[in-house]
Symmetry: C2
Subunit: 143 residues, 2 copies
């Protein structure tokens, strides 16, 4: 029995440890799931989403996520048996300098993410993830 | 009786016409709703979200959204009476040049958004919105 927050944390564990199998176990298997990496168009369908994470993780060496402002809301609001959870957080990312981080090019930066996690059987799995850069990140390039 | 897609379209109508009352009518009234404007931290709670949209709309003159790749998924998946809808789309934005667009600084650019719309009574309202820039936008500043 996982909770939405446990799945959310396992997602970052998977990226940190480059664990492709763990990552695959966390997502709903469906052609309509979606994932927006930093600055990119949405990817659609679990096969494509997992392929992208495999590429991202292959290009990342040391990486660690410090999550702040984690907020979980379950839907329907007030339901005793919610079927959906929305989790927003700030991702403070620490990574080895100079590595090619591909689609998720944060390198010691900050991003925000909104994840949608849904009940599947007795547990929860990821349905959708949307990550975006905080403007500071973009402004740094102008300095 | 609105549908998730109708609410999604009305949201853009509200921005295009600067209709603060229409915008307010579209959101669930709850301290846990959320909105991520382009490049910003999440705003939390409908009061704060609507305040931000009022500021954005006050700073925008002519603006028009051409939505492409609109994808709607209802949750729970396969349910005959879904309570949640996830809508992703690409926002192709046409706006008068030189205007201060504040938090949503697109000015003829592209963004992607993930909106979470929930059933409220007989209709649907917006629970969460997460918009982010497409990388081309950021790269243009380097040219």
């Amino acid at each position: 029995m996982t909770t939405p927050l446990e799945v959310h944390r396992l997602f970052y564990d998977a990226v940190e440890t480059g664990d492709v199998d763990l990552m695959a176990s966390l997502w709903v298997e469906d052609p309509a799931t979606s994932c927006v990496h930093l600055g990119t168009m949405p990817l659609r369908g679990t096969a494509q989403v997992l392929r992208s994470w495999t590429v991202v993780m292959a290009g990342v060496g040391y990486i660690q996520f410090f999550l702040t402002d984690v907020e979980v809301v379950t839907l329907p609001r007030g339901a005793s048996d919610p079927d959906t959870a929305v989790i927003t957080c700030t991702e403070n990312v620490l990574s080895a300098e100079g590595l090619a981080l591909d689609a998720e090019a944060f390198a010691g930066g900050k991003a925000v993410s909104t994840s949608i996690v849904v009940r599947v059987g007795g547990g929860w799995k990821i349905w959708s993830r949307h990550a975006s850069p905080i403007a500071e990140l973009m402004l740094e390039e102008d300095q």
